[in-house]
Amino acid sequence: MHTFNQLLKKIIRSGIGKSRYWMAYLGLGIAMILIFISIQLYANFNELLHSPKNKNESADFLVLNKNITRESDRNAEKNAFTPSEIADIEKQSFVADFGIMTASQFKVEAQPPVELQFSTALFFESVPDRFLDIKPEDWKWQPGNRLLPIVLPNSMLNMYNFGFALSQGLPQISQDNVKLLPIKVTIYNNYGQEEFVGKIAGFSDRISSILVPQTFMDWANKKYAPAANPDPNRVIIKTKDPGDPLLTRYLEKHNYATDADKLKNSKIRTVVQIIVSVIGAFGVVLLLFALLVFSMFIRLIISSCRKEINLLVTLGTAPSQLKRYLLKQFVPMYFVIAVVCLALISIIQLWAAHRLEYYQLSVSKYPGVGVFIAALAIVALLYVVNSRTIQKYISK
């Protein structure tokens, strides 16, 4: 067969210049890479969203409140969640855990150490312990304790350091130093007052509020506002996927609000999906064109060598021999292109993983299974279409 195929090569000449072939192969390569990129982008994005390595501590806790409108702004009752509303939220599919945020029914005044020269009115809120990412030994309080642990939101420290401090000529403080500061906390209302020593026990990204342990809040509210038992104005939910469109739609429907930042994921998701689809669609269209071009090459070869092919058949060449020869002109190159494109996508993926590490995001260093399956599928498709084309035009 070795010599026979060499002789076939001299007989079956198509007149298609080498440059045309290379352009067609290049087009095919571009189509493959586009398809690989879109598949890998999608896989990467899913990994960023759902892989445990990327679990963003704040991303899956959402604090919900009702939108305060013009009609409701003087009426705290209207802005509270009724028990039936709470029950409805709890049973939604996107709610993995649910907690009530308790507000203080008393007034609070805080006074940092004398050097800082200010005292301020404050408020407290509390959530069930499981919603906080803080060690239990730092967060315990019992009636009789003078020491009161407090959790501040990160944004508050930033507001102080970059707003208040700079404008008032006050020193900026680091997180660690803030934890060392004792704060004189006075809680009071008509009932009476009491003093505590507050200590910042930690900072939170999840909840923008000043938090105290639930045990303290329960005790203080009972002591200073025993009759009151208001519905909560804020609730906290844990969700697996803040970008879930179901969630956003539910909030819209009931006119609840939450930190808009965290819902951005949903928008980003849609945008990424569109980008991925567009790239993928381009790739597929280009692939179809490549298929068409190769089919036409085959037709051209067969028709321009019609006489020679007829004589070969007359002399006894089997159709399968001709088919094998023609496929050999194209199929090996398909494999080569697939391998080259796989190598390219591996390099791109490695580079992307490396860049993302800088942002503390983690994706796999290697292209996913999807890309390899796509490569095999594309080459198989090319083989089948070429094979059919040859079959069709040889027997004519």
């Binding site: 067969m1 010599t3 026979f4 002789l7 001299k10 007989i11 000449r13 020679e308 004589l311 058949v313 007359t314 002399l315 006894g316 060449t317 089997a318 159709p319 399968s320 021999q321 027997s395």
Partner: protein, 216 residues
């Protein structure tokens, strides 16, 4: 391989043959295996047509051409190719070499068609020597004279196994010497394979010791 014809009648010559009659057309003939068969036919009686019917390159006939008891129509393209590679060889009147190949390459094309080379290079060289075409083997087939091409076509037909060799005026452009040598070559090749041949030509001749002779 058994070769037979039944009431074979070329459509274009129907009229003529029904008028004149024929020893081959419209008869039932079983060609005996291994026999050297001569079919004499004046010009225009359909010599080449008959060869093409037997080789299955023309199909405008009524009646049957039977290969191993089955008509050609029963065989698919792969089976026909197989028969032409293993059982049935041919020397065309118009030779049908590839002009893009050299003389030797034309021979090698048939020689290697089945995968393994049937004749060794030495055997081919020897045949070329006998027919005095050694010196043109490396030349492009397009540059050869008709006689040289005819001798190459003869050698090509012998680089395969066969049980039947079809020949259509194979010595038309050869001098006496070369004709004698070519006939010897062919007779030896056939005897070696226990094969028969069917040769068509215009006149009587003494090239071979024919076993059977027909008038077309």
């Amino acid at each position: 391989m058994q070769l037979a014809i039944q009431q074979l009648l070329p459509v274009p010559l129907k009229e003529k043959i029904s008028q004149q009659g024929s020893g081959v057309w419209n008869n039932e003939i079983q060609f005996e295996e291994g026999k050297f068969i001569k079919i004499k036919a004046p010009s225009g009686t359909g010599k080449t047509t008959l060869i093409h019917y037997l080789y299955n390159t023309r199909y405008d006939y009524t009646g049957k051409v039977l290969v191993n008891g089955n008509p050609w129509q029963d065989y698919n393209a792969s089976q026909v190719a197989q028969l032409r590679q293993q059982e049935l060889s041919i020397i065309f009147q118009d030779l049908r070499l590839f002009e893009q190949l050299t003389a030797l390459e034309n021979i090698q094309l048939k020689n290697c068609m089945s995968g393994k080379a049937y004749c060794t290079d030495v055997e081919i060289d020897s045949m070329a020597n006998q027919l005095q075409v050694s010196h043109v083997l490396q030349q492009s087939a397009a540059t050869l004279s008709y006689g040289e091409r005819q001798r190459i076509a003869i050698i090509r037909a012998l680089t395969q196994p066969f049980s039947w060799l079809l020949m259509d005026e194979p010595f038309s452009h050869l001098d006496e010497n070369n004709t004698r040598k070519a006939a010897q070559l062919i007779a030896d090749a056939c005897k070696k394979r226990n094969a028969g041949f069917i040769l068509t030509d215009l006149d009587d001749d003494q090239h071979f010791e024919y076993h059977l002779e027909y008038q077309l």
